[in-house]
Amino acid sequence: MTTLIRGELIKAITTRTIFAYAAMAVVLAVGQVLASLLPGWGDLMSQDDKKEALGGLPLLVLLLAIVGAAGEYRHRTAAPAALVAGRDAGRLLVARAGAYAVAGAAVAALATVITLAVGLPLLADRPGPVVSAGDVALIAGGSLVAAALLAVFGVALGALVRNQVAAVTGTLIVIFVVLPLVQALSGTILDVTPFGAAQGVAGAGLTTLSTGAAAVVLVSWTLVALVAAVVGERRRDIA
């Protein structure tokens, strides 16, 4: 499995896509810190709000994984990979998910380092309770874990849908249209969706779930999606 993950990782990092997403992730991370901390500068800020300002944005990692996995079918690169590896397509998909988990965590690590470099000095000057080093470590670690799990989830979605445009557009519609509507009906239901749980793992305080419970919810969604994608991959033509 290590050789398969290595091969898939080489694929993931040898196009410009990952660098474009990493750059966007950094810009968005800085934007989120500034948008959270600068308005009402001088006002008292709660500890939860301060932690949320440092929380990661795993959405881009999800999109990166969807684009990468669905791109295997768009560019017809899934077949040569399966042919040279001599493994069944399901096993190869698991390796691809592992590779994107590593790549996603690396992008999240970069964004987190930039977020902390910009956010921590600003937080120190903002009135309100201090965010401890332990809390910062938990947020940073949570962002990486959330990014890795969402990357696996994204690979599964990309493999299930296969059409790159449909997969990305569908995901964006769900996140920005469907989920807000669902949230309007029930304020807490968002917490148990993969996207809500991922934010909880990445440091955003959820109403109904602790960080650990959010991690369990996210792992469950990820496993279900990955198993469905592996079953689908074994039943469908690779090319």
Binding site: K11, T14, H75, L83, V84
Partner: protein, 303 residues
């Protein structure tokens, strides 16, 4: 115990692949032997690529199966060391360099990274290896596909239209390469929609049309089916005509030339030598070969 020398390298049994109502491949059966180049021929849309995909295991047949050395392909899981595949629709990300593309495949196959430079050199892409594939010409992409197939130096090669887009130098190189492979005991199955193009490379032929088998046998049998014709120039045409007629040939005299039907150039040469007839020119008529291909495929369409 099964003897690998006598067992077919590839066996296709009742292979059928349907897309809805359309049967792209329909109850196809044939075998491919070791130590030979086998041409998989048929007009465009005959189902060659679909059949090849099922044979190498990247498409699931609706019915039937393909066996590699006697084992169903889905159980054999051949890798880059045993089976090299180039099928046209399998591709490369246009934003990735050829070197990185092959590096990823080598890693997936557990092959040493050095092998990447070797195959790039072999197919003549070493100079362009760091360029993004999106900037490549059709011929360069074709060479990269071949490099992928050759990465693990496999005993068996399955190549879909490998001569397409290659320049004359590339075609000559590939023909020699494939002939050498077969001579050293390897197995080569290559598809083409141009019979005369493949005729110079292959030993055996499998012809399909509309997904069905229309001919399977040695290339020379196909040539014989076409009623081989030979054109001869000689200072004594009447004498050669008499000899050829006595040997069963159909002879036509044409302004100093003799057109002989029903025997190949080798046979005519032997007769002339035996009878002491001087030959100034001896040539096979390729038009008859193309004609047999058309008649085979038209027969199925008419049926």
């Amino acid at each position: 115990m099964i003897n690998e020398d006598t067992q077919a390298a590839i066996t296709v049994e009742g292979l059928t692949k349907r897309y809805g109502e359309l049967a792209a491949v329909d109850d196809l059966s044939f075998s491919v032997r070791r130590g030979a180049v086998t041409g998989f021929l048929g007009p465009n849309g005959a189902g060659k690529t679909t059949a090849l995909k099922a044979i190498v295991g990247i498409a699931r047949p609706t019915a039937g199966r393909a066996l590699i050395h006697g084992t169903p392909v889905e159980a054999a899981h051949p890798d880059a060391r045993s089976l090299g595949v180039y099928i046209e629709p399998t591709g490369v990300h246009p934003g990735r360099s050829a070197h990185n593309h092959l590096r990823s495949l080598a890693a997936l196959a557990g092959l040493p990274a050095d092998r990447v430079d070797e195959v790039l050199e072999l197919v003549g892409l070493a100079q362009a290896a760091r360029r993004r594939v999106g900037t490549y010409s059709t011929g360069m992409r074709q060479r990269l596909g071949l490099a992928s197939a050759l990465l693990g130096d496999p005993e068996m090669l399955v190549l879909d239209e490998p001569l397409n887009g290659l320049d004359p130098q590339g075609i000559r190189w590939l023909r020699t390469f494939l002939r050498d492979r077969a001579s050293s005991g390897g197995t080569v199955l290559l598809s083409s929609h141009v019979l005369t193009e493949a005729a110079q490379t292959v030993d055996d032929v499998v012809v399909i049309n509309r997904g069905r088998l229309v001919f399977e046998g040695a290339m020379r049998e196909l040539t014989r089916l076409g009623g081989s014709r030979v054109l001869v120039r000689t200072p004594t045409p009447e004498r050669l005509a008499t000899v050829a007629r006595e040997a069963g040939g159909l002879v036509e005299l044409q302004a100093g030339r003799v057109l002989i039907e029903g025997m190949d150039a080798t046979r005519v040469g032997e007769l002339a030598h035996r009878e002491g007839v001087l030959l100034q020119e001896l040539a096979s008529d390729d038009a008859s070969l193309e004609q047999v291909f058309f008649s085979l495929t038209e027969e199925v369409e008419a049926a």
